[in-house]
Amino acid sequence: MNFKFCNKRISGVLAVVPANERSFVEEMKNYNFPEARSLKLKEVMGYDTHRMVQPNVCVSDLGVFALKNLFNRGLLKPEDIDALILVTQTPDYFMPPTSNVIQGKLNLKQDLLCLDISQGCAGYVIGLIQAFMLLEQDSVRKVVLLNADVLSRRTSPKDRNIYPLIGDAASVTVVERDPQESVIHASFKMDGVRHESLIIPAGGFKLPSTPDTAILVDVGDNNMRGQDHLCMDGSAVFNFVQVEVPQIIETVLASANATMDSVDWFLCHQPNRFMLEKLADKMKVPRSKMPSNVVGRFGNSGATTLPIAMAINLTEALKTGTQRACLAGFGVGLTWAAMLMQIGKLDFCDLIDYP
């Protein structure tokens, strides 16, 4: 499905990562694999460190911290927010929506649309699409897109396929009308047939968590996980990305009459370095135009890897000028989405630690 938006812009990006940093090398002893084999994987995938919350930290904690930081620095006024969109796979509760919890903790105005969206690694583009749609309304002038996840709390520490790459993070993206003439093109697709490719089997109403679902079992490849934990069909997801993502990027570029060369940056969700390098090669895009350095420093935190990629690679470029960026997200659902837009000049583009 294709979308086109006029006169909308991102005015600021703040990424928040937990200060708690873990190292792949230190964690290798938790896995049922020879160290040499794990070290080879580290080199290929680009694993090094990742950031994880302490066990009691929730999405609302990260979100409140991020928004308070912007309020305290005078970069955002609480009363200016007309809609708060939270995209997360790890809400505080089944009910109420975590966006309402955040609204309450910050005493935000009642004349505010709070909206939770259950999306994962495509959730940055999906959230922006929702924000742009809301801005079509006269009563909505500023939207806060909050992406946040604490997936480490649902990941088995004895699962070498998943644990080393997972990170926790939050990001705030302020979206508003653009006085300049600007056009944004977006496209997304979803395929629920493949919904089991990325899944946490237990914990919902289909299979409630019990002591049994928490038990770690060998899933057949020396990895130990329970049904309470994130499970990924790595081969299926890898192939999905390589097949579908180039096509949807081509769709967005075609709708904008844009060429690959006209794009300054391909800012993709960050699953691991290997996958992104293969994606860049497949699209014949220079690897230098597609940053892949988020997982090795912070881990894969879902949708927030995209704003983190902006904050660690493009802060100065986006604060001082404009860049033509193609955003792409892909993951749970399965969902894949792309967006072509001008980003910058931003009021802020920072990365801070959550203590």
Partner: protein, 76 residues
């Protein structure tokens, strides 16, 4: 330049890859070993195996790996 069996042996030294015709089915390579193998083959042959070709059937045995390398333009 290393041979394919030599590269396989570096990744999983505990297995005799000449004794199997189905590395995946026999549990000698998991999906992350395949990633490690692709990276090693890319370096060894100065190629970039397309991501869409990184599927289990291309890594079943030495012959399928050779076929993949030829398809990618490597001199095997």
């Amino acid at each position: 330049m290393k041979s394919i069996p030599e590269i396989l042996k570096e990744i999983r030294p505990e297995f005799d890859f000449t004794a199997s015709s189905d590395f995946i089915g026999d549990g000698m390579l998991d999906s992350f070993d395949v990633v490690t193998l692709v990276s090693a083959l890319d370096k060894n042959y100065s190629i970039s195996i397309p991501g869409t070709d990184i599927v289990p059937e291309n890594f079943q045995n030495v012959q399928t790996i050779e076929a993949l390398l030829r398809k990618t333009g490597a001199k095997v």
